[in-house]
């Protein structure tokens, strides 16, 4: 199986360790991982900020780069959500039917990490060991756009040594929302304050999620408050042995 890693621009630039963990995990599970280096960004920021026309060339590039792989895996529900729920519409908007078909074909074979592990790989025990108290924040796009359900929790339950604690009001948004965090910074900060309070109430040492963007937001709040809770991507936990 030819598996391509859709690394996402944020992980590439800011969280290489999340990409490395994803590669290590997939290789450990026996997959031949490829990272096409012509990939850049799915265009979600442009689309969601109102710049759909600027996103269309990025959709074209994405569809082109990832054509021909059996599976495309990304450590981000949000970016997979963009590929799955926005790319075809953006292509249709451009009036290019060929692009619409190409984008749909790529979207069909694109998986968020927990989806790939549970549905394609077919196992929740990936042989990980992580001896820490962890709480899991289900990001909005994993929960409501991709409907990954309890897949991440099942994966975490199978990690040896891991003490999983429930996050109160887990399904409430952390307030990131891409450029929302800048354009409506005060509301975003108010939402974040409630989220970090929930995280702290669990007594967990680590807060994990399937999206580096939301973790950057939650981690940014925790760090500003001087809290010692770390934010760690799901891929990093699953890659640990």
């Amino acid at each position: 199986m030819r598996v391509a890693l859709f690394i996402t621009c944020l992980v590439d630039a800011m969280y290489p360790r999340v990409g490395q963990a994803t590669v290590q995990l997939l290789e450990r599970l026996g997959y031949d991982v490829d990272v096409p280096l012509r990939q850049t960004c799915c265009g979600q920021m442009h689309t969601n900020t109102g710049y759909a026309d600027q996103a269309v060339p990025l959709v074209r590039q994405h569809a082109d780069v990832f054509a021909g792989y059996d599976a495309i895996v990304a450590p981000s529900a949000s970016c997979v959500g963009s590929v799955r729920h926005q790319h075809a519409a953006l292509a249709a908007r451009s009036g290019d039917d060929g692009l619409r078909r190409a984008a749909a074909a790529v979207a069909e074979r694109t998986y968020e990490l927990s989806e790939f592990l549970v549905n394609v790989h077919g196992s929740v025990d990936v042989g990980a060991y992580y001896p820490h108290r962890v709480t899991y924040h289900p990001t909005c796009h994993s929960l409501r756009l991709l409907r990954v359900g309890d897949r991440p929790l099942r994966l975490l339950h199978a990690v040896r040594g891991l003490d999983l604690v429930d996050l109160p009001d887990a399904d409430v948004c952390c307030g990131f929302g891409g450029t929302f965090a800048l354009k409506n910074a005060d509301v975003s900060a108010a939402m974040l304050a409630d989220k970090t309070a929930s995280v702290l109430s669990t007594g967990a040492a680590v807060c994990t999620a399937g999206d580096s963007s939301c973790l950057m937001h939650i981690g940014g709040g925790l760090s500003r408050d001087g809290a010692s809770v770390r934010t760690v991507h799901l891929a990093e936990i699953l890659a640990s042995t």
């Binding site: 442009h46 710049y51 910074a185 005060d186 939402m191 981690g219 760090s223």
Partner: protein
């Protein structure tokens, strides 16, 4: 009516309440500073959220009902004109009169003239978002007619000279102590005063409202209502409520004037049945609402002798003409999307500037006025999707918000953001340049203090005011990949 050519008009400026004075972020900042408001709202929305979840989860075919709710509305909207004409025929056949109002000004004029013709100076009102939308009370006041709200929450809002902040619970931003103070202070000024030792006990407050309102019901000769639904096949109007004040207004006065948005029509009673299941569970979290009043024309000796139905457009045809926006017209105003919205919960309804707040307001207000007149509302969402999940007619609000954002951007002139977005997209289309650009982000390490970035210049200062950013890594992922897995 003369022939109507060209694109349908948006809701006009200068009348009604669909536009705010402040952009959303500024209005939200003010609201966030109000700790009382936040705690009132947090408590109220949490309670209603839990109630809704319980009564929705117990319905085995909720998904099917929801799909039916969406499909029936879509079918109506696809042929709205014929359903409205059928409704008109039936209302007229049963002794009512139908008036078509292109916008808020026309509707206000029609209603004012109708009230004037009765010679009355006072009218009682059933809770109605549509009449708030068009600013009917203000228009009547200008004509020397006093409109008295009879819904408990609307009464509180009116007595306090306030604005509604929720489509179902207009005074959700007030707690009991505030309500008691408003009753004590204001009731006597306009009618039957509050009992001298009124406490904040909910039963006492309700009793005070009852006594105050009873006098109005018994003297009113004209009532004005909205409508939740209109059944075209029989010309029947329906109002769904909890308190019974609506029933009083709809049956006691001699003249009844109903102002209804044109999207409220459903073809048959069978269709109505679907919504009578969806609405109470989604709005108040009840299996069934206490009062559902339905009336068909006029019947001598039973209820009003005169019935007028005012059909309001006010930007609805323009919304219908927009394939990306028309689903907003499915809305049955249940307010479930407000109650689950993390943005609404923290800022309340006033920050949205329109009588329609929350997620549906962020879509509907710009649809009715044109995105140009409400440019900040489509951005008033983190796109978390909670609204879409609970909406009983499956309105995909996040996707509509994203589309409206592109309309706002298309309508706005050049600004730094546009140049930045174009620049970023330009680089992202060039993988080699992009690789270099990612490496350059390392420069940001210079801003670091104690292992994190704590302060950045505008516009990124909006982030660092309350949040740290991590230091960019020494090596990007792609550089690591090339180093460990071979050349590009």
């Amino acid at each position: 009516m003369t022939a109507f050519l060209g694109m349908p008009a948006r809701a006009p400026r200068g009348v009604g309440q669909l536009r705010g004075d402040l952009p959303f972020p500024a209005a939200a900042r003010e609201a966030l500073g109000n700790a009382q408001l936040r705690s009132n709202l947090g408590r109220a929305t949490a309670t209603i959220r839990a109630k809704r979840a319980a009564v929705v989860d117990e319905v085995p075919d909720w998904a099917g009902l929801r799909a039916a709710g969406a499909a029936i509305k879509d079918a109506v909207l696809a042929d709205l004109g014929s359903h409205l004409i059928r409704l008109e025929e039936q209302v007229v056949a049963h002794g009512g009169r139908v008036h078509w109002a292109r916008d808020a000004n026309e509707a206000n004029r029609i209603v004012t003239d109708l009230v004037r013709a009765t010679g009355e100076r006072d009218v009682v009102k059933v809770k109605s978002m549509t009449t708030q939308e068009i600013g009917l009370n203000e228009a009547l006041a200008e004509a020397g007619i006093s409109a008295w709200e009879t819904d408990l929450a609307e009464l509180i809002v009116q007595l306090a000279d306030d604005r509604p902040s929720h489509i179902l619970v207009p005074a959700i931003h007030r707690n009991r102590t505030e309500i008691r103070d408003i009753f004590r202070r204001e009731m006597g000024r306009v009618g039957v005063p509050a009992p001298p030792h009124l406490s904040e006990d909910p039963h006492e407050l309700a009793e005070a409202a009852r006594l105050h309102l009873r006098a109005r019901f018994l003297t009113a000769r004209v009532a004005i209502s909205g409508a939740n639904f209109a059944v075209a096949e029989t010309g029947t109007l329906a109002v769904v409520e909890s308190e019974g004040n609506g029933r009083m207004c709809l049956t006691l006065p001699e003249t009844l004037i109903t102002v209804m948005g044109i999207e409220k029509v459903v073809p048959t009673w069978r269709d109505l049945e679907v919504y009578l299941q969806l609405l109470p569970r989604s709005s108040t979290g009840e299996r069934m609402n206490p009062y559902t009043s339905m009336w068909t024309g006029v019947h001598p000796g039973d209820g009003p002798l005169e019935f007028h139905l005012v059909l309001l457009d006010n930007g609805r045809s323009a919304t219908l003409a927009d394939p990306h926006g028309r689903a907003a017209l499915r809305c049955i105003r249940c307010s479930a999307c407000l109650n689950v919205c993390p943005v609404y919960e923290r800022v309340g309804g006033h920050a949205y500037g329109s009588v329609y707040p929350g997620p549906i307001g962020a879509v509907l207000s710009p649809q009715l006025t044109g995105a140009k007149d409400n440019p900040s509302l489509p951005f008033a969402s983190s796109l978390c999707g909670a609204c879409y999940d609970v909406c009983p007619v499956a309105i995909d609000i996040p996707t509509m918000l994203v589309h409206l954002r592109s309309e706002v951007v298309a309508a706005s002139g050049p600004k730094p953001e546009r140049a930045a977005m174009a620049g970023v997209s330009w680089v992202m289309r060039r993988p080699r340049l992009y690789t270099v650009a990612l490496r350059l982000s390392r420069v940001a390490r210079l801003f670091g203090r104690r292992g994190a970035i704590r302060r950045l210049p505008p516009p990124l200062s909006a982030w660092t005011r309350t949040r740290d950013l991590p230091l960019p890594p020494a090596e990007t992922f792609r550089d690591w990949w090339v180093r460990t897995h071979g050349s590009p």
